[in-house]
Amino acid sequence: MPKRVLIVDDALFMRNTLRDIFSSAGFTVAGEADDGVQAVNLFRELKPDLVTMDIVMPYKSGIDATREIVQLDPSAVVVMCSALGQESLVMEAIEAGATDFIVKPFRGEDVLAVVKKVLGE
């Protein structure tokens, strides 16, 4: 069974880039959300194996969305996608329950390395 991933980012560019990375590595992209509200809703609906979560987004930040997702499912695997210079936000996200993080700019293999580790592969 291919792992199912939910991609959350407000930039379509980033979503497309991540989708390509995951698709080429044999993941199924279960859904995409462009803000935190949609992310929580889609998580509830899709129950993905993995969520990649942007931090700075409209309506609801990735940190708040992560907190809600982890409340819904304490075993949820949420990997924050942060930009350089956001370390304090990443730390806040980890405290909110994020599993791990990747820092933009990233290469496909960096993303997959982190994701495979957190999924225990």
Binding site: A11, V56, C81, A83, V90, A96, K117
Partner: protein
């Protein structure tokens, strides 16, 4: 390596450009109102989004600028007191530089100005306190965690990868993992100490746990960016703990309740404490997808093609035997209704909010005000009123012209305003509102108003009208003279809006869209330009006429009636103008063939006339034959046809042939009746 060949490059450019455009107006709002936290957040988010995507593409210059700007924004948000103009200027400079970078992404060499700009942004940011340091709650003095002294102590050493981009965050994950396995007694350096350090750090920790050393090692090795792990049983219990009273059972005191641990069934404590997040759902717009404007245009063309095809099918069906045709007719009719509905839906999908025109204006007005040394407040009303994309696109230039004109000529400088008892800050109001099938756009200033006498003088001087005609005009009618070419309200041409050049172009553009431009002005109180625009311009009901072997379309909304008359009996071929009686009124008649210099192929005798009305003026043109009616999708003329007076657009007929559409106002001008018959409305639009 910048990847200009990235498959999503165009997407990046589109998204980034949109963010930067909105950013401009948000920056203007910073100066106008005490900025709300949400405005700062939006500004930060846009800059941040551009940075993130650019980083992925390897556009380091964009990343550098956006990163430096983002830092400044973060500190400005936390700043107490007023935001300085210089600071906003700097953010504008950053936005401009980003726009420039995005426009020419393929330029390879390092730009000197980028370095200076990044430097200036960094300096400005350094002058302000770092909210990341001040906003984060000061950590409570470390409480030495205690653990059951009977538990084995493990010395843990973890080396983080050199490429680790956020060692503080990584250390936090290590810390969390350790806490999940036992009681973490010590950790050095702490995650906070590692923040903003380079990778390659070594972390030493002391863990009280029953978990086996191998298990601890494996758990840590499984973490990303962890390079090396050593776990050993600590030589001896710490002396500090000796002599203390028996410690409480091992509870992870350091971890706050909301840091819900993986695998631990944490009751949702936080849910009851935080306000329900439901209302955010209501703020969300309807789900939308991004569609290239061009794709919608193609869709519209194709919907029109389908309609034309159906029209042809109907024509063909007429030639079939009746019993066959009868069966087809119903089907064709249904198809026609569906196609028309489809066309309508595509049309409404093309509707674009007025805001897409106005979002760049705040920036333009700000710069203009600085250049003119005036203070101007811009107020945009009805930003969400929607217009057809064709109208929006055509309206860009006229609107910015009217705004420039109002800022330059309409509004007085602050001293003059104060002397006149007005607030020093001039007000410019842009309004869009829907009225039935029209959208009214107004550009209003509270400036000096127009000078009717000066306009009359100018009109006479530029030989647009006689002194008598000018004197006969009411003040209200005289304001409309500003639409005449060569008439301006000021003698000195200015850098900003020129010498009144363009108001005639504004009117022409608006009328080419099937709209109307007018002026209201009150001396000393201000001037309002009113543009009445059709909601959509693309569909028109046309009367098809034939002249000189060619078909032409006449917009039906300008056609009063058609009639037949035999003028040749009275004046012979080649008449210029005669008159015919229409509804008891004498109406001048012209030959369309003659106006366009075409041969008339109609035999002498009675011939059809199309009676049109423009601004209350009626006139008739003769044609060779009336052919029929057709609903058609109008397209703008392309050069050189767009310079032909009397034509307004082009369309494609059901049979695939192009059809030129006549412009009744242009025809009236060609006939020479539009300026002379009635002075007041005639002044308008005479070119």
């Amino acid at each position: 390596m910048p990847s200009t060949s990235h498959k999503y490059l165009t997407l990046f450019v589109a998204e980034a450009s949109e963010h930067l455009a909105t950013l401009q107006s948000e920056l203007v709002r910073l100066e106008q109102e005490p900025p709300a936290a949400s405005l700062w957040d939006a500004i930060f988010r846009r800059m941040h989004s551009v940075k993130g995507s650019a980083a992925t593409l390897g556009f380091t210059r964009i990343v550098d600028i956006a990163h430096a700007a983002e830092n400044l924004i973060a500190r400005l948000k936390g700043k107490e007191g007023k935001i300085e103009r210089a600071e906003v200027d700097l953010l504008f400079a950053a936005t401009d530089a980003l726009v420039k970078e995005i426009v020419k992404l393929d330029k390879k060499e390092e730009d000197e100005s980028t370095i200076t700009l990044v430097d200036r942004l960094a300096k400005a940011a350094q002058a302000l306190p770092d909210p990341a340091l001040s906003a984060r709650p000061v950590p409570p003095p470390p409480v030495m965690p205690t653990a059951d002294p009977s538990l084995p102590r493990l010395d843990v050493s973890v080396v983080l990868s050199k490429t680790c981009a956020a060692p503080g965050a990584r250390a936090l994950i290590v810390q969390r993992k350790l806490k999940a396995m036992g009681t973490l007694l010590e950790m050095e350096p702490t995650p906070a100490q590692l923040m903003q350090q380079k990778g390659g750090a070594r972390i030493a920790a002391l863990l009280a746990t029953l978990t086996a050393t191998d298990e601890v090692r494996e758990a840590l090795v499984a973490l990303p960016e962890v390079e090396q792990v050593e776990v050993r049983i600590a030589p001896a219990a710490r002396p500090v703990e000796e002599g203390r009273p028996l410690p409480p059972p091992p509870v992870p005191i350091v971890s706050p309740p909301q840091a819900s641990m993986r695998g631990q069934a944490t009751p949702p404590l936080v849910r009851g404490l935080t306000p329900p997040p439901v209302d955010a759902d209501e703020l969300r717009p309807e789900p939308t997808v991004r569609v290239r404007a061009e794709a919608l245009d193609q869709l519209l063309d194709q919907a029109a093609d389908v309609m034309h095809g159906i029209a042809r099918l109907r024509e063909a069906a007429k030639r079939l035997p009746e019993h066959v045709a009868a069966r087809l007719d119903g089907d064709i009719d249904r198809l026609r209704r569906t196609a028309r509905e489809l066309h309508g839906r595509v049309m409404s999908a093309r509707l674009t909010p007025f805001s897409s025109l106005t979002e760049r204006l705040p920036r333009a007005v700000r710069d203009l005000a600085h250049r003119l040394e005036k203070t101007i407040e811009l107020d945009v009303q009805g930003a969400d009123v929607e217009l057809d994309r064709t109208v929006i696109e055509a309206l860009g230039d006229p609107l910015s012209h009217l705004v420039r004109n109002a800022a330059d000529h309409g509004l007085e400088d602050p001293q003059t305003r104060e002397r006149a008892g007005k607030p020093a800050r001039g007000k410019l109001t842009l309004t869009a509102r829907r009225e039935r099938d029209k959208v009214i756009v107004e550009v209003q200033d509270d400036g000096r108003g127009m000078d009717a006498a000066a306009l009359r003088r100018k009109a006479v001087k530029s030989a647009a009208m006689t002194q008598e005609a000018a004197d006969a005009l009411s003040d209200d009618a005289a304001y409309e003279l500003a639409f005449l070419p060569g008439v301006s309200t000021r003698d000195d041409a200015t850098e900003v809006s020129g010498r009144g050049v363009g108001l005639d172009a504004v009117q022409r553009k608006v009328e080419s869209l099937g709209g109307k431009a007018s002026i209201r002005s009150v001396p000393g109180k201000g001037t309002t330009f009113v543009l009445e625009l059709p909601l959509s311009v693309s569909m028109a009901n046309l009367l098809l006429v034939q002249v000189g072997g060619e078909l032409y379309g006449v917009p039906l909304h300008r056609v009063l009636l058609t009639t037949e008359y035999d003028l040749s009996a009275r004046g012979g071929e080649g008449f210029d103008a005669r008159s015919l009686v229409v509804m008891g009124e004498l109406v001048r008649a012209y030959g369309l063939a003659k106006l366009f210099g075409l041969p008339s192929l109609a035999p002498p005798g009675p011939r059809p006339f199309v009676v049109m009305e423009v601004d209350g003026l009626r006139f008739a043109v003769s044609v060779d034959r009336l052919v029929g009616q057709e609903e058609a999708v109008l397209k703008p003329l392309f050069p050189p046809l767009d310079r032909v007076r009397g034509l307004s657009g082009i369309t494609v007929l059901g049979n695939g042939r192009p059809l030129l559409v006549l412009d009744p106002r242009g025809l009236a001008e060609l006939c020479g009746i539009h300026e002379t018959s009635k002075p007041a409305p005639a002044a308008k639009g005479a070119a």
